[in-house]
Subunit: 160 residues, 2 copies
């Protein structure tokens, strides 16, 4: 896992939330994810996979319900008090924008990715296992209403 | 959504479960997924994204706990009574094999995909939202112990 990959994801997420939702965040301490870490309160995750000839990446952006409602209420015209279809769409859009931003930054570093669809997961207790041989890095954030976190794992494909 | 894509996924899944786990399955009726369909019993999902210049695909393979334990107990040397890290790894391997098989069949049809990592989700109640503009097709299966299902959505990218 390479910091050269974490930074584009971090930059893209931060820029999008700041630009689109005027969301001010505090960065927490970066750590390696443990295998059995579980999302344990009502949350919504945008899962993103990226693949190229040279590298694969798996990214998860998980918002606790209060944080995604804070974001939704800054971005949407109507007021949201619970996660619904429109909020799910919003997380999909945020995931698309994060992938697009990270892709642009990674292109500057010489990686060319085809972007897949993001997938959204919602629940109150679920485990996300990224199937990578590289460690999964967790970047926690705090906003006024609660926490969200980015998980990212990046693997360069060895040339034969 | 094109049957030319569903068939490779279906064929790959069926072949792998038959070859690796000697799992005999009954096919259910194919249907279009509703937006709010939720996994509502202990289950494990292998999520797969595929992207190429020409097309994107999102696939989810969801096993209820009894079915994945039936498969695990046919494939693994030790007996499993609950989903653990080894069973999670097994679902990752099955997802990798399904993606690899589907990729090969799709190459015969002229599509060249870079494969991303699968991601595994485990929980007792969760919603999976595929972020595609194409419908999500659900293919249900029955085994001796219970149900599992494939969700798949496939979108060709329009040329400018």
């Amino acid at each position: 896992m390479d910091v050269q990959f974490i930074n584009p994801v971090l930059k893209a997420t931060n820029e999008i939330l700041l630009t689109m939702a005027k969301l001010e965040v505090k960065f927490g301490n970066v750590r390696v994810k443990k295998h059995d870490e579980t999302v344990s309160c009502k949350s919504i995750t945008g899962l993103m996979s990226m693949a190229s000839k040279d590298a694969k990446a798996s990214i998860a952006l998980t918002f606790t319900e209060p944080v995604i409602l804070e974001i939704a209420n800054k971005m949407l015209p109507e007021s949201k008090h619970a996660i619904d279809g429109i909020v799910i769409d919003l997380v999909g859009e945020i995931a698309n924008m994060v992938m697009g931003g990270a892709k642009r930054y990674l292109e500057e570093d010489g990686y060319s990715f085809n972007l897949a669809f993001p997938t959204i997961i919602m629940g109150s207790e679920y485990l996300i296992a990224h199937r990578t041989t590289a460690p999964v890095i967790v970047l926690p954030f705090k906003t006024r209403t609660g926490e969200f976190f980015i998980e990212a794992s990046f693997e360069q494909i060895k040339k034969a």
